[in-house]
């Protein structure tokens, strides 16, 4: 490498073969001695930024503007931000439904909501929180953050990304609009047959549920493939698998789980829609079908689903813990193995939702053991975080507070989880408020709190400004207190026998006080969330400027400006450790990649294990076709509710839009 010093003209190297590059620095003892030498006479020429190149780069990566332009951008940060914003809108809407339910239950024999509306509310609340908020918001964070964390400029299939977003937007809007016209599904978020069959749910509500959930899962699947390929193939040179940030690992595991779990819900809801529309008999006992098949298929998706929204949240926790203790994460390998193990074990748990269905005992014992076993990898992570924080000088900013809140809430949720994993106890509390308490502790504690922490943490990178610390702390206090006041009493209510999904109860049952307390807590909790959202909106204008790295974090998204330019990084960095940014801060210099063209969208392709560069991918630019394809697909998904012919219509519409999407348009003869 040293010979390059002489023949490298102003920043451009001669090497034509990226395979044989050396690590510019090695972290051994000799390294420091060599670095002293370099100070006097640099081995590697400094890269000076050239205005002309930057202008070209900006032109190549810029997203279109204007009304039509809104339907065209494909840049990963724009799509990620849209996912996050849309998901939070649904969080607010579904949260309001939750508040309405709490109001109804505040006093016995209340008539605030009629029973049929109450049924629609809890169904849409649950469905929206899971499918319209939890998955999309975590995908949104993954889409927004991971490409920057691995030091690339976009995702591997930018147009697919845009397609996924429009599919999600269209599907979720149709689903939610049904509530406004009073035709929402009312059979609960897991939509059990025979209740959800044609006989007992004749309306259009369940039809919409099945088609739109299938449709929205298409969007989750595109994001998953996108994340897997981007993470495995587009990492910055030198970011070997064992140097990948934990959040990237978590996103990767989430994506793999989506790939193997979502098809199950797609199959089950497709079979249900066939049952409902063309009278097939998959779940109809009289025709030889079996309602339990629905439960198997649903929970084979539904249980991993819980971990799909948990695992990336755990990644956010690891990220925040590292940054706010300013320490290397304790037990990186243990944490990564735990995340992967959680991913695997979560596929062996689904039957624990079905303990009350009378399956053979031997099989149930296996699932009981597996359900208890999943506590192990999660426990390992908690101990690693404690070890990281032990004796560190922790900076108690809002993101860190949310993480500490997460510890408390998630550990309680985990403990009740171990309790309901045991069959005798489960049979006792099955379908009671104990379960409601348990899964809100796990989902709000395990997922929403880290997501809010992540929002405060990455907000500066998204907007260029900081959110208010004061209002952040107020919001945390309200959320933490409100949450526990709202949901802790539900454990007791469940043990007292209050069933879930009842729209009211009699005063003699003795549930009134705890329900009233719970409703007060729910409003405090809502005030906490509202504080954060107003904080986020107001800070867009009045927040102090963030600068590149306001938290002094160690991952790559913090080396570039806030908000980053459309191409993310001027130069793709070269990575030599798990905390590259901290190393560069010490060394005051960093190696970068040269040779990507500035006049078109190029990203570096590296090998899966060792991230050695071996090719360059030219990624496509803005296009209207993904939007048109999403429209073509929606024609089918909505149309089949009216007539099966729309399946064929949509098949050909989608085909033509895909041809329009993929037809080679750039001057390919000159490539």
């Amino acid at each position: 490498m040293s010979k390059r010093r002489d023949d490298a003209p102003s920043g451009d190297l001669e090497t034509k073969d990226g395979r044989h590059w050396e690590h510019p620095q090695t972290r051994d003892a000799a390294h420091h001695g060599r670095r002293e030498e370099e100070r006097q006479e640099p081995l590697h020429p400094t890269v000076e930024d050239n205005e002309e190149e930057i202008r070209k780069l900006e032109l190549a990566w810029a997203a279109p503007t204007g009304f039509i332009g809104w339907f065209k951008p494909v840049n990963q940060r724009i799509i990620g931000r849209r996912f996050i914003v849309t998901a939070f809108v649904y969080f607010v809407l579904a949260g309001l439904l939750g508040l309405a339910m709490r109001l109804q239950l505040a006093v016995p024999e209340n008539d605030f909501l009629p029973p049929e509306i109450y049924n629609q509310f809890f169904t849409v609340h649950g469905t929206a929180m899971m499918f319209l908020f939890a998955i999309p918001v975590l995908e949104g964070f993954a889409l927004f953050v991971t490409p920057m964390m691995i030091g690339t400029r976009d995702m591997a299939f930018p147009r697919l990304n845009a397609f996924g977003y429009y599919v999600y937007l269209i599907g979720s809007s149709i689903f939610f609009v049904m509530l406004l016209v009073g035709m929402a599904p009312d059979t609960g978020w897991f939509n059990y047959v025979p209740l959800a069959g044609k006989l007992y749910a004749p309306g259009v509500g369940v039809d919409i549920w099945t088609t739109m959930i299938t449709f929205i899962e298409v969007s989750a699947l595109t994001a998953a493939v996108e994340l897997i390929v981007t993470i495995l193939k587009l990492r910055a040179p030198g970011m070997t698998l064992n140097r990948m940030p934990v959040f990237v690992w978590a996103s990767l595991v989430m994506a793999f789980m989506i790939v193997f779990a979502m098809p199950s819900i797609i199959v089950s809801s497709s079979l249900l829609i066939l049952d409902r529309l063309v009278s097939t008999g998959f779940f109809v006992p009289e025709m030889g079908g079996d309602p339990l098949l629905w439960q198997h298929l649903f929970w084979f998706f539904g249980h991993p689903e819980v971990y799909i929204v948990l695992v990336p949240a755990l990644g956010i926790v690891s990220t925040i813990v590292t940054t706010f203790t300013q320490r290397t994460l304790f037990g990186y390998t243990a944490i990564v193995i735990s995340i992967v193990a959680t991913g695997f074990v979560s596929f062996g748990l689904w039957v624990h939702h079905m303990f009350a269905t009378g399956l053979p005992h031997l099989g149930m014992s296996f699932f009981m053991a597996a359900s208890a076993m999943i506590a192990i990898p999660n426990g390992v992570q908690v101990f690693c975080w404690i070890a990281t924080m032990w004796g560190a000088r922790i900076q108690f900013s809002t993101p860190m507070l949310y993480v500490l809140g997460f510890f408390w809430v998630f550990v309680i949720g985990g403990l009740t989880g171990v309790m309901v994993a045991s069959i005798p106890f489960d049979l006792q509390v099955h379908d009671t408020y104990f379960l409601v308490a348990h899964f809100h502790y796990v989902l709000i504690g395990g997922s929403v709190m880290p997501v809010l922490g992540g929002l405060y943490y990455w907000y500066p990178k998204m907007s260029g400004r900081m959110m208010s610390e004061f209002w952040g702390k107020v919001s945390f206090a309200l959320v933490f207190i409100g949450f526990n006041v709202a949901f802790f009493p539900m454990h007791q209510l469940g043990l007292d026998g209050m069933p879930r999904r009842v729209y009211t109860y009699l005063e003699e049952m003795g549930w009134s006080e705890l329900n009233f307390i719970s409703t007060i807590g729910a409003f405090v909790l809502a005030a906490g969330f509202a504080t954060t959202f107003f904080n986020a909106l107001a800070s867009l204008r009045v927040g102090p400027k963030a600068g590149n790295n306001p938290w002094h974090a160690e991952t790559l998204e913090w080396v570039t400006e806030s908000p980053p330019p459309p191409y993310n990084q001027r130069h793709i960095p070269i990575v030599n450790s798990r905390e590259p940014v901290w190393d560069w801060r010490e060394e005051q210099e960093r190696p970068v990649v040269l040779g990507l063209r500035s006049d078109r969208r190029e990203v570096l392709v590296t090998s899966i294990l060792d991230a050695e560069p071996h090719a360059v991918q030219v990624v496509p630019g803005p296009s209207i076709w993904p939007f048109l394809s999403a429209i073509a697909a929606s024609v089918g998904f909505v149309g089949i509710l009216f007539h099966p012919i729309f399946f064929v219509v949509s098949f050909f519409l989608a085909f033509f839009s895909f041809v329009g999407w993929f037809w080679p348009r750039r001057p390919w003869r000159e490539d």
């Binding site: 920043g11 451009d12 190297l13 001669e14 090497t15 034509k16 073969d17 990226g18 590059w21 510019p24 591997a156 697919l160 998953a224 493939v225 996108e226 390929v229 495995l232 193939k233 040179p237 790939v259 193997f260 098809p263 199950s264 199959v267 079979l271 063309v278 009278s279 097939t280 008999g281 998959f282 025709m287 030889g288 079908g289 079996d290 098949l293 298929l297 084979f300 070269i574 005051q588 210099e589 960093r590 190696p591 970068v592 990649v593 040269l594 040779g595 990507l596 063209r597 190029e602 570096l604 392709v605 090998s607 560069p613 071996h614 360059v616 991918q617 098949f651 085909f655 390919w668 490539d671």
Partner: protein, 200 residues
Amino acid sequence: MRQYAGMDVSGLTRFAKSTHPLYYGIIGLIAIELTVVAMLTVSYSYLMFSSPEWPPAGLEPAPILWPSVNLGLLLASMVSMRWAGNRISAGDRRGLIIGLSTSVALHMTVLVLRSFEMAAFEFRWDDHVYGSLMWTITGFHFTHVASAIVGTVVVTILATKGYFTPERQLGVVVDTLYWNFVSAAWIPFYLALYWGPRLV
């Protein structure tokens, strides 16, 4: 912070055909669809084993001759696709077009035979769950064969325009990948739908 040149990538290939991200993307798509295939096969077996009689009383197992012929045609089309890929690697554009067209013709034959076969089913999808499964799974595979055909027709049109060269053949490679999935996906369905009832 000083930035220095760590490596130069201007000489790296822009055409990597079997390590290109798109290649892995199609593998991801296939993984998803294989899971769907597995789910359908498992659902079929689940219902088969939980039924007292399979197929329902009064029905013979569906005839096995034409599905077996289809299996042969589907497997043969994998060979002709492979051959097409080899031809373009050797720079033989005509060979590529012949290989692609042969494969499309084989799949078209499958669709025709399949249509006759479905028309001859002695039951409807709303008669009993056996009928539901037969129609749904065959229809699922029918749709996939149809999409593989239309996709490959587009690739063939691009081939006649001279788009593909020994370097730029990613389109052919990923189309072949998906093609192989669609063709091979018939194997588990064939075993479950036509051999399952005969063996239990």
